[in-house]
Amino acid sequence: MNAVIVGCGKVGTELARTLVNDGHDVSVIDSSEKALAAAAEAIDILPVQGNGADINTLRDAGLDKADIFIAVSPSDELNLLACLIVKSTSDKVKTIARVRNPLYLKETLFLRKKLGISRIINPELAAAREIFKLLQYPALSRIDMFADGRVAIFTLELEAHHSLTGRSLQDIGSETGYSILVCAVERDGEVIIPSGNFVLREGDEISVVIAMSELKNFLKSLGARSTPANSCLITGGGTISYYLTEMLLRNKKQVRVIELDQKRCEALSETFPEAEIIHGDGTDKSFLLKQGLKYVDAFIPLTGIDEENIISATFAKNVSNAKAITKISRTDLNDVMDELHIDSAVFPKLICADNIAQYVRAQSRGVGGHVETLYRYLDNRVEILELIAKEDPALTEIPLSQLGNRIKSNLILACIIREGQFIIPSGKDVIRRGDSVVVVTTHKGISSLHEILI
């Protein structure tokens, strides 16, 4: 498909990279030549300098042939205007706008129905949802869904008392009684795609595929916490806190928000009478302890400064058992987060780019796209993809045991989803046309099921 992106910031660049890797043709519009040059040096895009709401610039970027239009410039108004202009030139093109102002966001339905914008993305809301999801399973450092939420893949650090520790992978199935698949392990900084006789150790960071319905019981049998966090301490009362507090309160959780600005405190308190809004400095260690950091279930630093968030989260790990979820605005810190022993980190900009990419993938299904979902794990070293099987004489209807040595190394088929059924594949199983197959691999840029073969 052909995509036009307006805005060459972090989100735009990340999105362009993902879409190009997925096999789409991408043009990027931005007013800054420098930003475009930097992106074009690393990514195979058509950079177009100009204003994203200018019809001539849009035409230069190939609007006539575009299937999808994505406006992620810093200005909500420009994004909406650009989408309107694009929509007025063609009905076929799908438009996506990033809108952050909560005021506009209340009108989402209007924007979509009346203005014909296909999708509104709000990075703060998406980040809040992500944090909320993690709070449901505090033991996990990350969780993602496949196949419309029927299959989950999660990451967890093994502790000494967990029942999997010290077991080899081939024993797990028979001993636990759960059909799970350990598809990637990070040990001592190395990412391993493990085979059957691999023995798990304390401290391994494992990524596991499991049916969503079994997740809770599995965590219980593992000896990890399986109940959601019931009390949350949030520092910083910004937009993400706003959305998160709303979600938590709706689910009857106990929420305490620490905010430095008196006015903002008052505004929050007006909106959320059930929440405890504390006026104070959320980066002050003793103040945090006073606010019950030791006994809270989850600690979520959401201030505007990445470094403060990381430091508070590290402090929290030292003094309490609370699940710490850190918000990080910069996108390039992804790789170093592992070194810092923070439970989970949430990158709103990457989430935003990922969300849009997922939408584009869903759209391209009809026109030859194969990638249904894609997640990058363990510092981008592992890609987990959900691929749709097309008719392929080299692949479909052949028992996997026969395919065995023709499949690339460092790649496993984690599961096959057929008509809603979840299959952990064994040698006898075959891939059928229309199956969606979850593939875990350290190879980058796989875009169709055929490419899993050597």
């Binding site: 990279r17 043709d25 991408v26 030549e33 074009a40 040096e41 990514i43 195979d44 950079p47």
Partner: protein, 480 residues
């Protein structure tokens, strides 16, 4: 410097070159000549190519630096493998001569060291002309078009190999851009071949002449150049040469039916204008000085040579040494101007001349109103300051290299016309100059030193200075 990816690219380019040996090989087979020179060359290319590509580099990152170095080294590697057929076939027994001829071929220069091309085997003639064709659009662009690369930074190769002050893609993917360029290029070449065949040119001549005109190379296959072809054939060649000197974006715009964009390209307009003025002046000069009695023939020859020189092809229908001074002067000026950016031609390029002329106009305004804020516009868009800076430095360093080369070549003791135009003709990838190296002469009488210097000049000229010069900079080779 990620040397792994650089070696890999050189390897792929050599594999392609080995494959291309099919063309002269087939030709030799048809004419009953020995195919061994081409088979051996292909074998050597394959062996080195496979050795270099056996291990695919892990990080496929091709940043600006790797792009330049890969381009520079690939062209050097091609020069030393492409010369093998000349040696194996016995056409030349000196490495210098073979390298000179090969570089002259790939860089689409067309300067030859052979005194009598008619005595050469047909396979060698075909290889010389075919090098023009592949070198015209660029072998790395060819590689981008046919070899799927992952990683997405191939644009840095295209930038390094394609001529012009600012290279941009015409479609989002570098590979698609390369494909489109080669499709247009191929279609136009086939068109020219067909026209020449229709005008009753023999197939072998039509192929070689078309390859040379398409790449704006200029190796001829007759000792008399193009003089023996009929007038309609000469006119067809003239139009062909001029067409291949046009920025290929022009044809792309025509293809996607954006006529407005195509015809408003300032560079193409400037290029056509320069050609028309030059033809007019030379025709008048030729007729008034009594060199020609027939006006149409004068215009035909003037057009042929103006087209041949400005596109940096270098075909000839007559001995320009006999032309009056004004005409020769105009041709020498055209040598430096060169064709359009994004074409297969060489020289400084019309767009650089236009940019500098506009920058000069801006300097005048600044002198008058010191506080004025003014941008230089090109095709309705403001050209970036870094493009202007790069162009200014480019032209300066261009003349420095030119001057140094002239000094070295002057050691041979030829007259100044020969010395000066020998460098101008090779550095700008034209082919023949004036004097001893004139349209009916050749480069065989130059010393080995001069041939090496001119070979390097051809490479520097074709790759537009930076990819070759960077090879000599210590920092290029550092990891940090």
């Amino acid at each position: 410097m990620e040397i792994g990816i650089v070696l890999y690219i050189i390897g792929v380019a050599l594999l392609i070159e080995g494959g291309l040996m099919v063309v002269p090989g087939a030709c030799a087979l048809i004419y009953g000549e020995s195919v061994m020179p081409y088979v051996l060359t292909a074998l050597i290319c394959f062996i080195i190519g496979i050795a270099f590509t056996r291990k695919k580099p892990e990080s496929g990152f091709l940043f600006s630096r790797e792009g330049y170095v890969a381009t520079g080294l690939t062209w050097v590697a091609l020069a030393f493998t492409g010369m093998l057929p000349f040696l194996f076939s016995g056409a030349s027994d000196s490495v210098v001569d073979a390298v000179f001829e090969t570089i002259s071929g790939y860089t689409t220069t067309g300067s030859s060291i052979f005194t009598s091309v008619e005595d050469l085997p047909k396979g060698i003639l075909m290889w010389r002309s075919f090098m023009h064709w592949i070198g015209g659009m660029g072998i790395l662009v060819f590689m981008l078009a046919i070899v799927p690369f992952t990683g997405g930074t191939q644009m840095n190769i295209m930038k390094a190999e394609s001529p012009g002050p600012s290279i941009s893609k015409i479609v989002p993917r570098a590979q698609d851009s390369a494909k489109i360029l080669y499709q247009i290029y191929g279609a136009m070449t086939i068109g020219l071949i067909l026209i020449l065949l229709l005008l009753k040119m023999p197939l072998f001549d039509a192929l070689c002449i078309s390859f040379g005109a398409a790449g704006t190379g200029g190796f001829s296959i007759l000792n008399t150049g193009c003089a023996d072809y009929t007038i309609p054939q000469q006119v067809a060649i003239t139009i062909g040469m001029i067409a291949f000197g046009v920025n290929f974006n022009f044809y792309y715009f025509l293809l996607i039916k954006k006529l407005g964009l195509a015809f408003s390209m300032e560079e193409v307009r400037g290029y056509i204008l320069i050609i028309l003025v030059a033809i007019g002046l030379i025709s008048v000069d030729l007729v008034f000085k009594g060199i020609y009695t027939s006006v149409p023939i004068a215009v035909k020859d003037a057009a042929f040579h103006v087209g041949s020189i400005i596109t940096t092809t270098g075909y000839a229908t007559t001995d320009c040494n006999l032309w009056p001074n004004l005409s020769q002067g105009i041709l020498i000026l055209l040598m430096f101007i060169g064709a359009c950016a994004g074409s297969t031609g060489g020289g400084i390029k019309v767009s650089r001349i236009l940019l500098m002329a506009k920058a000069y106009k801006r300097e005048l305004s600044i002198a008058l109103h010191p506080n004025i804020v003014k941008k230089v516009h090109m095709d309705g868009k403001s050209a970036g300051e870094d493009v202007l800076r790069n162009t200014g430095v480019y032209i300066f360093i261009y003349f420095v290299i030119f001057a140094v080369s002239v000094l070295i070549v002057s050691l041979d003791g030829f007259d100044w016309t020969t010395t000066f135009t020998a460098v101008a003709a090779t550095f700008n990838n034209i082919g023949p100059g004036f004097g001893v190296v004139g349209t009916m002469g050749n480069f065989s009488s130059l010393s080995d030193l001069s041939k090496w210097v001119l070979s390097l000049d051809m490479l520097i000229g074709r790759l537009e200075i930076f990819p070759i010069m960077l090879l000599f900079v210590k920092n290029t080779w550092r990891k940090f």
